[in-house]
Amino acid sequence: MEIFMFIMFMSTNLFMILILKYSCDGNYHYNNGMILGVHIPSEHSGDEAVISLAQKEYKNFKRFLIINIILSTASCLLIFLNMIISLFVYIIWILGFCAAISILSVSSHRRMYSVKEKNGWIIESQKKKVFIDTRVSAEAGKSELSYRYHIAIIIAEIACFLPFISRRAYGYFETIAIFFVCSLLISAVSWLMHIYVNHNERTVYSENSELNRIVNRTVKCYKGASMLVLSASNAAAWIYAAIAVLISRRLTGTTVCVYILIELFAAFAFIPILIAGIRRKSELLSANPAPIYVDDDEYWKSGFYYNPDDPHMLVPNRLQSGNYAFNYANRGARIITAGLTVFIAASFIFTIAVLVPFVNVKVDIRTDNSHLHVDAAGYSSDIDMNSITDVQILNELPDDGFSKINGGATDTYLVGRFKGNTYGYCNLYIYTGHTPVLMVKTDGETVFFNSDIDGKLQEIYDELSHNKQSSSQFR
Protein backbone atom coordinates (compact mmCIF):
# COMPACT_ATOMS: atom_id res chain seq x y z
CA MET A 1 0.00 0.00 0.00
CA GLU A 2 2.74 2.48 1.04
CA ILE A 3 4.89 1.60 -1.96
CA PHE A 4 1.93 2.05 -4.31
CA MET A 5 1.05 5.41 -2.71
CA PHE A 6 4.69 6.50 -2.91
CA ILE A 7 4.94 5.65 -6.62
CA MET A 8 1.61 7.35 -7.36
CA PHE A 9 2.41 10.59 -5.50
CA MET A 10 6.03 10.72 -6.63
CA SER A 11 5.23 10.22 -10.32
CA THR A 12 2.42 12.81 -10.12
CA ASN A 13 4.76 15.34 -8.46
CA LEU A 14 7.59 14.83 -10.92
CA PHE A 15 5.17 15.01 -13.82
CA MET A 16 3.67 18.24 -12.48
CA ILE A 17 7.13 19.82 -12.13
CA LEU A 18 8.03 18.65 -15.65
CA ILE A 19 4.86 20.21 -17.10
CA LEU A 20 5.71 23.47 -15.35
CA LYS A 21 9.22 23.39 -16.79
CA TYR A 22 7.89 22.89 -20.34
CA SER A 23 5.13 25.48 -20.10
CA CYS A 24 7.37 28.20 -18.57
CA ASP A 25 10.73 27.47 -20.21
CA GLY A 26 9.94 29.44 -23.37
CA ASN A 27 9.25 32.61 -21.37
CA TYR A 28 12.92 33.02 -20.54
CA HIS A 29 13.94 33.24 -24.21
CA TYR A 30 12.96 35.82 -26.83
CA ASN A 31 9.94 34.29 -28.51
CA ASN A 32 7.18 35.89 -30.62
CA GLY A 33 8.50 39.36 -29.78
CA MET A 34 8.29 38.66 -26.04
CA ILE A 35 10.55 37.74 -23.17
CA LEU A 36 9.18 36.98 -19.67
CA GLY A 37 5.73 37.81 -21.10
CA VAL A 38 6.75 41.38 -22.02
CA HIS A 39 6.93 42.69 -25.59
CA ILE A 40 10.44 43.95 -26.30
CA PRO A 41 11.27 45.54 -29.67
CA SER A 42 13.45 43.07 -31.63
CA GLU A 43 16.29 45.61 -31.89
CA HIS A 44 16.51 45.67 -28.08
CA SER A 45 16.08 41.94 -27.48
CA GLY A 46 19.85 41.49 -27.14
CA ASP A 47 20.39 44.45 -24.79
CA GLU A 48 22.43 43.76 -21.66
CA ALA A 49 19.58 44.80 -19.30
CA VAL A 50 17.15 42.35 -20.96
CA ILE A 51 19.53 39.41 -21.30
CA SER A 52 20.99 39.67 -17.78
CA LEU A 53 17.53 39.91 -16.18
CA ALA A 54 16.22 36.95 -18.21
CA GLN A 55 19.27 34.84 -17.31
CA LYS A 56 18.98 35.73 -13.61
CA GLU A 57 15.27 34.86 -13.56
CA TYR A 58 15.93 31.59 -15.43
CA LYS A 59 18.50 30.60 -12.81
CA ASN A 60 15.94 31.32 -10.06
CA PHE A 61 13.35 29.25 -11.93
CA LYS A 62 15.69 26.26 -12.26
CA ARG A 63 16.66 26.57 -8.59
CA PHE A 64 12.94 26.62 -7.71
CA LEU A 65 12.36 23.40 -9.70
CA ILE A 66 15.29 21.58 -8.03
CA ILE A 67 14.18 22.68 -4.53
CA ASN A 68 10.67 21.42 -5.25
CA ILE A 69 11.87 18.06 -6.57
CA ILE A 70 13.69 17.61 -3.22
CA LEU A 71 10.70 18.82 -1.15
CA SER A 72 8.18 16.68 -3.01
CA THR A 73 10.41 13.60 -2.68
CA ALA A 74 10.75 14.28 1.06
CA SER A 75 6.96 14.64 1.47
CA CYS A 76 6.46 11.35 -0.41
CA LEU A 77 9.03 9.51 1.72
CA LEU A 78 6.98 10.44 4.78
CA ILE A 79 4.35 7.96 3.54
CA PHE A 80 6.57 5.18 4.95
CA LEU A 81 6.53 6.81 8.40
CA ASN A 82 2.92 7.98 8.70
CA MET A 83 0.50 8.22 5.81
CA ILE A 84 -1.77 10.85 7.38
CA ILE A 85 1.11 13.15 8.35
CA SER A 86 2.56 12.75 4.85
CA LEU A 87 -0.81 13.84 3.42
CA PHE A 88 -0.73 16.98 5.62
CA VAL A 89 2.80 17.76 4.46
CA TYR A 90 1.78 17.09 0.84
CA ILE A 91 -1.16 19.53 1.10
CA ILE A 92 1.10 22.22 2.58
CA TRP A 93 3.73 21.57 -0.11
CA ILE A 94 1.25 21.74 -3.01
CA LEU A 95 -0.25 25.01 -1.70
CA GLY A 96 3.22 26.49 -1.26
CA PHE A 97 4.29 25.24 -4.70
CA CYS A 98 1.28 26.88 -6.46
CA ALA A 99 1.70 30.16 -4.56
CA ALA A 100 5.48 30.26 -5.13
CA ILE A 101 5.27 29.60 -8.90
CA SER A 102 2.69 32.39 -9.28
CA ILE A 103 4.86 34.82 -7.27
CA LEU A 104 7.97 33.79 -9.21
CA SER A 105 6.47 34.26 -12.69
CA VAL A 106 4.56 37.45 -11.79
CA SER A 107 7.58 39.09 -10.12
CA SER A 108 9.93 38.31 -13.03
CA HIS A 109 7.29 39.67 -15.46
CA ARG A 110 7.01 42.88 -13.42
CA ARG A 111 10.78 43.32 -13.33
CA MET A 112 11.00 42.98 -17.13
CA TYR A 113 8.12 45.45 -17.57
CA SER A 114 10.04 47.93 -15.37
CA VAL A 115 13.06 47.57 -17.69
CA LYS A 116 10.77 48.27 -20.64
CA GLU A 117 9.22 51.30 -18.96
CA LYS A 118 12.59 52.69 -17.87
CA ASN A 119 13.95 52.44 -21.40
CA GLY A 120 10.83 53.97 -23.00
CA TRP A 121 10.14 50.96 -25.24
CA ILE A 122 6.37 51.37 -24.95
CA ILE A 123 4.78 52.18 -28.33
CA GLU A 124 1.72 54.30 -27.55
CA SER A 125 0.25 53.95 -31.09
CA GLN A 126 0.18 50.14 -30.77
CA LYS A 127 -1.58 50.06 -27.40
CA LYS A 128 -5.14 50.17 -28.67
CA LYS A 129 -4.73 48.15 -31.88
CA VAL A 130 -6.83 45.10 -32.66
CA PHE A 131 -5.89 42.70 -35.45
CA ILE A 132 -8.35 40.27 -37.01
CA ASP A 133 -7.57 37.65 -39.61
CA THR A 134 -10.78 37.15 -41.59
CA ARG A 135 -9.77 33.67 -42.81
CA VAL A 136 -8.93 32.45 -39.30
CA SER A 137 -12.04 34.09 -37.90
CA ALA A 138 -14.27 32.53 -40.58
CA GLU A 139 -12.86 29.09 -39.66
CA ALA A 140 -13.85 29.41 -35.98
CA GLY A 141 -15.42 26.15 -34.84
CA LYS A 142 -13.88 24.17 -37.70
CA SER A 143 -11.14 21.64 -37.08
CA GLU A 144 -9.77 18.43 -38.62
CA LEU A 145 -10.55 16.79 -35.27
CA SER A 146 -14.24 17.15 -34.52
CA TYR A 147 -15.39 17.46 -30.94
CA ARG A 148 -18.26 15.11 -31.80
CA TYR A 149 -15.97 12.08 -31.18
CA HIS A 150 -16.45 12.78 -27.46
CA ILE A 151 -20.14 11.86 -27.74
CA ALA A 152 -19.24 8.22 -28.58
CA ILE A 153 -16.95 8.08 -25.53
CA ILE A 154 -19.63 9.50 -23.22
CA ILE A 155 -22.25 7.06 -24.56
CA ALA A 156 -19.84 4.14 -23.88
CA GLU A 157 -19.30 5.39 -20.31
CA ILE A 158 -23.04 5.66 -19.64
CA ALA A 159 -23.66 2.23 -21.18
CA CYS A 160 -21.15 0.67 -18.76
CA PHE A 161 -22.99 2.13 -15.78
CA LEU A 162 -26.45 0.82 -16.79
CA PRO A 163 -25.93 -2.77 -15.44
CA PHE A 164 -25.15 -1.30 -11.99
CA ILE A 165 -28.55 0.37 -11.66
CA SER A 166 -30.04 -3.01 -10.69
CA ARG A 167 -27.13 -3.69 -8.30
CA ARG A 168 -27.63 -0.77 -5.93
CA ALA A 169 -27.69 -3.04 -2.86
CA TYR A 170 -24.12 -4.29 -3.44
CA GLY A 171 -21.31 -2.97 -1.24
CA TYR A 172 -19.34 -1.60 -4.17
CA PHE A 173 -22.22 0.45 -5.66
CA GLU A 174 -21.29 3.82 -4.07
CA THR A 175 -17.62 3.53 -5.08
CA ILE A 176 -18.56 2.44 -8.60
CA ALA A 177 -21.02 5.36 -8.82
CA ILE A 178 -18.21 7.75 -7.78
CA PHE A 179 -15.89 6.25 -10.45
CA PHE A 180 -18.65 6.70 -13.04
CA VAL A 181 -19.44 10.30 -12.06
CA CYS A 182 -15.73 11.23 -12.05
CA SER A 183 -15.22 9.60 -15.44
CA LEU A 184 -18.28 11.30 -16.90
CA LEU A 185 -17.21 14.69 -15.51
CA ILE A 186 -13.71 14.40 -16.99
CA SER A 187 -15.12 13.42 -20.39
CA ALA A 188 -17.70 16.23 -20.27
CA VAL A 189 -15.03 18.81 -19.34
CA SER A 190 -12.75 17.49 -22.14
CA TRP A 191 -15.64 17.77 -24.58
CA LEU A 192 -16.41 21.37 -23.52
CA MET A 193 -12.72 22.29 -23.66
CA HIS A 194 -12.49 20.80 -27.18
CA ILE A 195 -15.48 22.90 -28.29
CA TYR A 196 -13.94 25.99 -26.64
CA VAL A 197 -10.57 25.43 -28.34
CA ASN A 198 -12.16 24.88 -31.77
CA HIS A 199 -14.10 28.13 -31.43
CA ASN A 200 -11.53 30.31 -29.74
CA GLU A 201 -8.14 29.46 -31.27
CA ARG A 202 -7.98 32.36 -33.74
CA THR A 203 -4.95 34.36 -32.74
CA VAL A 204 -3.33 36.67 -35.28
CA TYR A 205 0.41 35.97 -35.12
CA SER A 206 1.53 37.33 -38.47
CA GLU A 207 0.63 39.60 -41.36
CA ASN A 208 0.76 36.40 -43.40
CA SER A 209 -2.81 35.13 -43.33
CA GLU A 210 -1.86 31.62 -44.51
CA LEU A 211 0.61 31.23 -41.63
CA ASN A 212 -2.06 32.34 -39.14
CA ARG A 213 -4.45 29.78 -40.59
CA ILE A 214 -1.89 26.95 -40.41
CA VAL A 215 -0.80 27.79 -36.85
CA ASN A 216 -4.36 28.07 -35.53
CA ARG A 217 -5.43 24.82 -37.24
CA THR A 218 -2.33 23.05 -35.86
CA VAL A 219 -2.98 24.29 -32.33
CA LYS A 220 -6.64 23.22 -32.59
CA CYS A 221 -5.59 19.75 -33.77
CA TYR A 222 -3.04 19.17 -31.01
CA LYS A 223 -5.25 20.54 -28.24
CA GLY A 224 -8.26 18.62 -29.58
CA ALA A 225 -6.21 15.41 -29.79
CA SER A 226 -5.01 15.85 -26.20
CA MET A 227 -8.61 16.31 -25.03
CA LEU A 228 -9.70 13.20 -26.93
CA VAL A 229 -6.83 11.11 -25.54
CA LEU A 230 -7.62 12.32 -22.02
CA SER A 231 -11.30 11.50 -22.42
CA ALA A 232 -10.68 8.10 -24.06
CA SER A 233 -8.03 6.98 -21.52
CA ASN A 234 -10.25 8.12 -18.66
CA ALA A 235 -13.17 6.19 -20.20
CA ALA A 236 -10.91 3.14 -20.59
CA ALA A 237 -10.12 3.26 -16.84
CA TRP A 238 -13.82 3.41 -15.95
CA ILE A 239 -14.84 0.72 -18.47
CA TYR A 240 -12.10 -1.58 -17.14
CA ALA A 241 -13.27 -1.05 -13.53
CA ALA A 242 -16.93 -1.59 -14.50
CA ILE A 243 -16.22 -4.83 -16.41
CA ALA A 244 -13.89 -6.16 -13.66
CA VAL A 245 -16.56 -5.52 -10.99
CA LEU A 246 -19.34 -7.04 -13.12
CA ILE A 247 -17.27 -10.20 -13.63
CA SER A 248 -15.90 -10.66 -10.10
CA ARG A 249 -18.98 -9.14 -8.34
CA ARG A 250 -16.68 -7.19 -6.00
CA LEU A 251 -14.34 -4.22 -6.11
CA THR A 252 -10.89 -5.60 -5.38
CA GLY A 253 -7.72 -3.71 -4.53
CA THR A 254 -6.20 -4.87 -7.84
CA THR A 255 -9.11 -3.35 -9.77
CA VAL A 256 -8.64 -0.03 -7.97
CA CYS A 257 -4.87 -0.11 -8.57
CA VAL A 258 -5.27 -0.81 -12.30
CA TYR A 259 -7.97 1.89 -12.48
CA ILE A 260 -5.58 4.44 -10.90
CA LEU A 261 -2.74 3.37 -13.21
CA ILE A 262 -4.91 3.86 -16.32
CA GLU A 263 -6.02 7.26 -14.97
CA LEU A 264 -2.35 8.18 -14.46
CA PHE A 265 -1.68 7.11 -18.04
CA ALA A 266 -4.53 9.46 -19.11
CA ALA A 267 -2.65 12.38 -17.56
CA PHE A 268 0.70 11.19 -18.91
CA ALA A 269 -0.70 10.79 -22.44
CA PHE A 270 -2.59 14.09 -22.51
CA ILE A 271 0.25 16.41 -21.49
CA PRO A 272 2.92 15.28 -24.02
CA ILE A 273 0.47 15.96 -26.88
CA LEU A 274 -0.06 19.49 -25.55
CA ILE A 275 3.71 19.99 -25.24
CA ALA A 276 4.21 18.65 -28.78
CA GLY A 277 1.58 21.18 -29.95
CA ILE A 278 3.41 24.05 -28.23
CA ARG A 279 6.67 22.97 -29.86
CA ARG A 280 5.09 22.66 -33.31
CA LYS A 281 3.56 26.11 -32.92
CA SER A 282 6.97 27.56 -32.00
CA GLU A 283 8.54 25.86 -35.02
CA LEU A 284 5.93 27.31 -37.36
CA LEU A 285 6.19 30.78 -35.83
CA SER A 286 9.99 30.78 -35.99
CA ALA A 287 9.54 31.16 -39.77
CA ASN A 288 7.14 34.08 -39.31
CA PRO A 289 8.16 36.68 -41.92
CA ALA A 290 6.07 39.54 -40.49
CA PRO A 291 5.10 39.11 -36.83
CA ILE A 292 2.27 41.31 -35.60
CA TYR A 293 3.28 43.52 -32.74
CA VAL A 294 0.56 44.73 -30.35
CA ASP A 295 1.91 46.50 -27.32
CA ASP A 296 -0.79 45.53 -24.84
CA ASP A 297 1.67 44.93 -22.00
CA GLU A 298 0.01 47.66 -19.99
CA TYR A 299 -2.90 45.27 -19.37
CA TRP A 300 -0.47 42.61 -18.09
CA LYS A 301 1.78 44.87 -16.03
CA SER A 302 0.58 43.44 -12.70
CA GLY A 303 1.27 39.92 -13.95
CA PHE A 304 -2.49 39.36 -14.28
CA TYR A 305 -4.56 40.40 -17.29
CA TYR A 306 -6.82 43.40 -16.66
CA ASN A 307 -8.29 45.00 -19.79
CA PRO A 308 -11.67 46.73 -19.40
CA ASP A 309 -11.92 47.17 -23.21
CA ASP A 310 -11.62 43.43 -23.85
CA PRO A 311 -14.97 41.64 -23.47
CA HIS A 312 -13.28 38.20 -23.34
CA MET A 313 -13.24 36.46 -19.99
CA LEU A 314 -10.51 33.97 -20.93
CA VAL A 315 -7.40 34.85 -22.93
CA PRO A 316 -4.26 32.82 -23.78
CA ASN A 317 -1.90 32.98 -20.82
CA ARG A 318 1.24 34.91 -21.59
CA LEU A 319 3.24 33.55 -18.68
CA GLN A 320 2.41 29.85 -19.16
CA SER A 321 2.35 28.66 -22.74
CA GLY A 322 -0.70 26.58 -23.69
CA ASN A 323 -2.64 27.78 -20.65
CA TYR A 324 -5.45 30.36 -20.37
CA ALA A 325 -5.77 33.36 -18.03
CA PHE A 326 -8.76 35.29 -16.73
CA ASN A 327 -9.38 38.91 -17.71
CA TYR A 328 -9.91 40.37 -14.22
CA ALA A 329 -11.67 43.41 -15.65
CA ASN A 330 -14.51 40.99 -16.39
CA ARG A 331 -16.95 40.58 -13.50
CA GLY A 332 -17.55 36.91 -14.29
CA ALA A 333 -13.80 36.18 -14.02
CA ARG A 334 -13.67 37.78 -10.58
CA ILE A 335 -16.71 35.81 -9.38
CA ILE A 336 -15.34 32.50 -10.72
CA THR A 337 -11.91 33.15 -9.15
CA ALA A 338 -13.49 34.03 -5.79
CA GLY A 339 -15.73 30.93 -5.98
CA LEU A 340 -12.80 28.66 -6.87
CA THR A 341 -10.65 30.13 -4.09
CA VAL A 342 -13.37 29.56 -1.50
CA PHE A 343 -14.02 26.05 -2.82
CA ILE A 344 -10.32 25.07 -2.78
CA ALA A 345 -9.73 26.61 0.68
CA ALA A 346 -12.84 24.87 2.07
CA SER A 347 -11.74 21.55 0.53
CA PHE A 348 -8.31 21.82 2.15
CA ILE A 349 -9.76 22.78 5.54
CA PHE A 350 -12.32 19.97 5.30
CA THR A 351 -9.65 17.43 4.30
CA ILE A 352 -7.40 18.46 7.20
CA ALA A 353 -10.34 18.38 9.66
CA VAL A 354 -11.24 14.87 8.50
CA LEU A 355 -7.65 13.61 8.53
CA VAL A 356 -6.58 14.95 11.96
CA PRO A 357 -8.43 12.23 13.95
CA PHE A 358 -6.72 9.58 11.80
CA VAL A 359 -3.18 10.57 12.87
CA ASN A 360 -3.35 8.12 15.77
CA VAL A 361 -6.36 5.79 15.56
CA LYS A 362 -7.51 4.30 18.87
CA VAL A 363 -10.68 2.23 19.15
CA ASP A 364 -12.32 3.15 22.43
CA ILE A 365 -14.97 0.72 23.73
CA ARG A 366 -16.90 1.32 26.95
CA THR A 367 -20.24 0.55 28.53
CA ASP A 368 -22.30 2.64 30.95
CA ASN A 369 -25.95 2.92 31.92
CA SER A 370 -26.94 0.08 29.63
CA HIS A 371 -25.29 1.78 26.65
CA LEU A 372 -22.40 0.55 24.53
CA HIS A 373 -20.13 3.27 23.14
CA VAL A 374 -17.59 2.56 20.42
CA ASP A 375 -15.59 5.37 18.90
CA ALA A 376 -12.46 5.91 16.85
CA ALA A 377 -11.06 8.75 14.70
CA GLY A 378 -14.15 10.95 15.10
CA TYR A 379 -16.64 8.18 14.25
CA SER A 380 -18.81 6.75 17.03
CA SER A 381 -21.66 4.34 17.68
CA ASP A 382 -23.86 4.65 20.73
CA ILE A 383 -25.98 1.52 21.15
CA ASP A 384 -28.72 0.94 23.69
CA MET A 385 -27.99 -2.56 25.02
CA ASN A 386 -31.70 -3.32 25.26
CA SER A 387 -32.10 -2.77 21.53
CA ILE A 388 -29.40 -5.31 20.59
CA THR A 389 -30.87 -8.13 18.51
CA ASP A 390 -27.73 -10.16 17.92
CA VAL A 391 -24.20 -10.37 19.38
CA GLN A 392 -21.58 -12.65 17.90
CA ILE A 393 -17.91 -13.07 18.52
CA LEU A 394 -16.21 -13.90 15.21
CA ASN A 395 -12.75 -15.21 14.39
CA GLU A 396 -12.29 -12.48 11.83
CA LEU A 397 -14.16 -9.78 9.92
CA PRO A 398 -16.55 -11.54 7.50
CA ASP A 399 -15.46 -11.52 3.86
CA ASP A 400 -18.45 -9.51 2.64
CA GLY A 401 -16.78 -7.23 0.07
CA PHE A 402 -16.91 -4.25 2.46
CA SER A 403 -16.65 -0.99 0.64
CA LYS A 404 -15.87 2.29 2.42
CA ILE A 405 -18.59 4.96 2.28
CA ASN A 406 -16.68 7.38 4.50
CA GLY A 407 -13.97 7.05 7.11
CA GLY A 408 -10.51 5.53 6.80
CA ALA A 409 -9.23 2.24 5.40
CA THR A 410 -5.51 1.48 5.51
CA ASP A 411 -3.34 -1.57 6.12
CA THR A 412 -3.67 -1.00 9.90
CA TYR A 413 -7.32 -0.04 10.43
CA LEU A 414 -10.84 0.11 8.97
CA VAL A 415 -12.82 2.87 10.66
CA GLY A 416 -16.07 4.56 9.63
CA ARG A 417 -19.12 3.77 7.53
CA PHE A 418 -18.88 0.79 5.20
CA LYS A 419 -21.24 -1.23 3.03
CA GLY A 420 -21.15 -5.00 2.66
CA ASN A 421 -22.82 -7.16 0.02
CA THR A 422 -24.95 -9.04 2.57
CA TYR A 423 -24.68 -6.96 5.76
CA GLY A 424 -25.54 -3.71 3.99
CA TYR A 425 -24.51 -0.47 5.75
CA CYS A 426 -22.28 -1.14 8.79
CA ASN A 427 -20.03 0.80 11.17
CA LEU A 428 -16.53 -0.66 11.42
CA TYR A 429 -13.96 -0.03 14.19
CA ILE A 430 -11.36 -2.60 13.27
CA TYR A 431 -7.63 -2.96 13.83
CA THR A 432 -6.56 -4.99 10.80
CA GLY A 433 -5.02 -8.31 11.78
CA HIS A 434 -6.39 -8.28 15.35
CA THR A 435 -8.77 -11.05 16.38
CA PRO A 436 -11.46 -11.75 17.42
CA VAL A 437 -14.09 -9.37 16.06
CA LEU A 438 -17.38 -8.57 17.76
CA MET A 439 -20.53 -8.06 15.72
CA VAL A 440 -23.39 -6.19 17.37
CA LYS A 441 -26.70 -5.86 15.58
CA THR A 442 -29.70 -3.71 16.41
CA ASP A 443 -32.75 -3.04 14.28
CA GLY A 444 -31.13 0.12 12.92
CA GLU A 445 -27.43 -0.66 12.62
CA THR A 446 -24.71 -3.30 12.49
CA VAL A 447 -21.37 -2.63 14.16
CA PHE A 448 -18.14 -4.62 13.87
CA PHE A 449 -15.29 -3.82 16.23
CA ASN A 450 -12.25 -5.30 17.89
CA SER A 451 -9.67 -4.20 20.43
CA ASP A 452 -5.90 -4.22 20.79
CA ILE A 453 -6.24 -4.95 24.54
CA ASP A 454 -6.16 -8.67 25.35
CA GLY A 455 -9.40 -9.96 26.84
CA LYS A 456 -11.25 -6.66 26.38
CA LEU A 457 -13.50 -7.97 23.63
CA GLN A 458 -14.39 -11.12 25.58
CA GLU A 459 -15.30 -8.93 28.56
CA ILE A 460 -17.61 -6.76 26.43
CA TYR A 461 -19.11 -9.84 24.78
CA ASP A 462 -19.89 -11.41 28.19
CA GLU A 463 -21.49 -8.21 29.40
CA LEU A 464 -23.62 -7.81 26.28
CA SER A 465 -24.67 -11.49 26.30
CA HIS A 466 -25.59 -11.29 29.96
CA ASN A 467 -27.59 -8.13 29.41
CA LYS A 468 -29.36 -9.72 26.43
CA GLN A 469 -30.31 -12.84 28.48
CA SER A 470 -31.56 -10.69 31.38
CA SER A 471 -33.73 -8.55 29.13
CA SER A 472 -35.14 -11.72 27.44
CA GLN A 473 -36.08 -13.19 30.83
CA PHE A 474 -37.63 -9.91 31.89
CA ARG A 475 -39.77 -9.84 28.76
Binding site: K128, V130, F131, D133, T134, R135, A138, R202, P311
Partner: protein
Protein backbone atom coordinates in the same frame (compact mmCIF):
# COMPACT_ATOMS: atom_id res chain seq x y z
CA UNK B 1 -6.76 39.38 -44.96
CA UNK B 2 -5.67 41.11 -41.78
CA UNK B 3 -8.01 43.81 -40.48
CA UNK B 4 -6.31 46.39 -38.31
CA UNK B 5 -8.58 48.42 -36.03
CA UNK B 6 -7.45 51.38 -34.00
CA UNK B 7 -9.66 51.64 -30.93
CA UNK B 8 -8.27 55.07 -30.04
CA UNK B 9 -9.04 56.56 -33.48
CA UNK B 10 -11.78 59.15 -34.04
CA UNK B 11 -12.99 57.15 -37.04
CA UNK B 12 -15.94 54.96 -35.97
CA UNK B 13 -15.23 51.24 -35.82
CA UNK B 14 -17.89 50.36 -38.40
CA UNK B 15 -16.26 52.78 -40.87
CA UNK B 16 -12.79 51.37 -40.16
CA UNK B 17 -14.13 47.87 -40.71
CA UNK B 18 -15.88 48.84 -43.94
CA UNK B 19 -12.79 50.63 -45.32
CA UNK B 20 -10.46 47.76 -44.44
CA UNK B 21 -12.68 45.17 -46.11
CA UNK B 22 -13.01 47.30 -49.26
CA UNK B 23 -9.21 47.78 -49.36
CA UNK B 24 -8.79 44.02 -48.86
CA UNK B 25 -11.06 43.29 -51.84
CA UNK B 26 -9.28 45.91 -53.93
CA UNK B 27 -5.81 44.53 -53.18
CA UNK B 28 -6.94 40.96 -53.81
CA UNK B 29 -6.37 39.94 -50.18
CA UNK B 30 -10.04 38.98 -50.10
CA UNK B 31 -10.97 36.88 -53.08
CA UNK B 32 -14.32 36.82 -54.86
CA UNK B 33 -16.73 34.41 -53.13
CA UNK B 34 -14.46 34.15 -50.07
CA UNK B 35 -16.32 33.57 -46.84
CA UNK B 36 -16.21 36.36 -44.30
CA UNK B 37 -16.52 35.82 -40.53
CA UNK B 38 -20.03 35.82 -39.12
CA UNK B 39 -21.27 39.03 -37.48
CA UNK B 40 -20.96 37.44 -34.04
CA UNK B 41 -17.47 36.10 -34.74
CA UNK B 42 -16.14 39.39 -36.06
CA UNK B 43 -17.73 41.30 -33.18
CA UNK B 44 -16.12 38.92 -30.66
CA UNK B 45 -12.70 39.26 -32.30
CA UNK B 46 -12.94 43.05 -32.50
CA UNK B 47 -14.38 43.31 -28.99
CA UNK B 48 -17.33 45.37 -30.22
CA UNK B 49 -21.10 45.07 -30.24
CA UNK B 50 -22.64 42.82 -32.91
CA UNK B 51 -24.71 45.83 -34.08
CA UNK B 52 -21.49 47.59 -35.14
CA UNK B 53 -20.44 44.70 -37.37
CA UNK B 54 -23.99 44.25 -38.60
CA UNK B 55 -24.00 47.91 -39.69
CA UNK B 56 -20.70 47.42 -41.54
CA UNK B 57 -22.00 44.36 -43.39
CA UNK B 58 -25.22 46.18 -44.25
CA UNK B 59 -23.25 49.07 -45.78
CA UNK B 60 -20.96 46.70 -47.69
CA UNK B 61 -23.97 44.78 -48.96
CA UNK B 62 -25.73 47.97 -50.11
CA UNK B 63 -22.56 49.05 -51.88
CA UNK B 64 -22.42 45.68 -53.60
CA UNK B 65 -19.07 44.56 -52.18
CA UNK B 66 -20.47 41.58 -50.32
CA UNK B 67 -23.50 39.31 -50.48
CA UNK B 68 -25.15 37.68 -47.51
CA UNK B 69 -26.98 34.41 -47.07
CA UNK B 70 -29.19 33.73 -44.06
CA UNK B 71 -27.78 30.23 -43.55
CA UNK B 72 -24.23 30.46 -44.90
CA UNK B 73 -23.19 33.96 -43.74
CA UNK B 74 -21.39 36.73 -45.64
CA UNK B 75 -19.25 36.35 -48.79
CA UNK B 76 -17.24 38.69 -50.97
CA UNK B 77 -19.37 39.51 -54.03
CA UNK B 78 -18.16 37.84 -57.22
CA UNK B 79 -19.42 40.51 -59.55
CA UNK B 80 -18.89 44.05 -58.29
CA UNK B 81 -20.28 46.50 -60.88
CA UNK B 82 -19.71 50.21 -61.18
CA UNK B 83 -23.06 51.95 -61.12
CA UNK B 84 -24.23 55.57 -61.15
CA UNK B 85 -24.39 55.85 -57.34
CA UNK B 86 -20.84 54.56 -57.01
CA UNK B 87 -19.56 57.08 -59.57
CA UNK B 88 -21.22 59.93 -57.73
CA UNK B 89 -19.80 58.80 -54.38
CA UNK B 90 -16.32 58.35 -55.83
CA UNK B 91 -16.45 61.78 -57.42
CA UNK B 92 -17.46 63.36 -54.12
CA UNK B 93 -14.61 61.63 -52.30
CA UNK B 94 -12.11 62.57 -55.00
CA UNK B 95 -13.31 66.16 -54.85
CA UNK B 96 -12.57 66.25 -51.14
CA UNK B 97 -9.15 64.62 -51.56
CA UNK B 98 -8.29 67.01 -54.45
CA UNK B 99 -9.32 69.99 -52.34
CA UNK B 100 -7.12 68.82 -49.46
CA UNK B 101 -4.16 68.23 -51.82
CA UNK B 102 -4.67 71.60 -53.47
CA UNK B 103 -4.95 73.51 -50.17
CA UNK B 104 -1.76 71.93 -48.82
CA UNK B 105 0.10 73.00 -51.99
CA UNK B 106 0.44 69.68 -53.79
CA UNK B 107 0.65 70.15 -57.57
CA UNK B 108 -1.66 68.28 -59.95
CA UNK B 109 1.07 66.06 -61.37
CA UNK B 110 2.22 64.82 -57.94
CA UNK B 111 -1.39 64.20 -56.95
CA UNK B 112 -2.11 62.22 -60.12
CA UNK B 113 1.12 60.23 -59.75
CA UNK B 114 0.14 59.38 -56.19
CA UNK B 115 -3.31 58.27 -57.38
CA UNK B 116 -1.72 56.18 -60.10
CA UNK B 117 0.72 54.53 -57.69
CA UNK B 118 -2.00 53.68 -55.17
CA UNK B 119 -4.26 52.37 -57.94
CA UNK B 120 -1.47 50.13 -59.27
CA UNK B 121 -1.28 48.41 -55.85
CA UNK B 122 -4.80 47.10 -56.35
CA UNK B 123 -5.25 43.63 -57.72
CA UNK B 124 -8.81 42.46 -57.18
CA UNK B 125 -9.46 38.77 -57.72
CA UNK B 126 -12.44 37.53 -59.66
CA UNK B 127 -14.33 34.33 -59.11
Amino acid sequence: MIIELDMSSDIPIYVQLRNQIVKGIGKGELKADEKLPTVRQLAADAGVNTMTVSKTYQILKNEGFIRTDRRLGAFVADNIDMNKDFCEKLEAELELLSAEACITGMDKETFLNMCSEVYSRMNPCTA
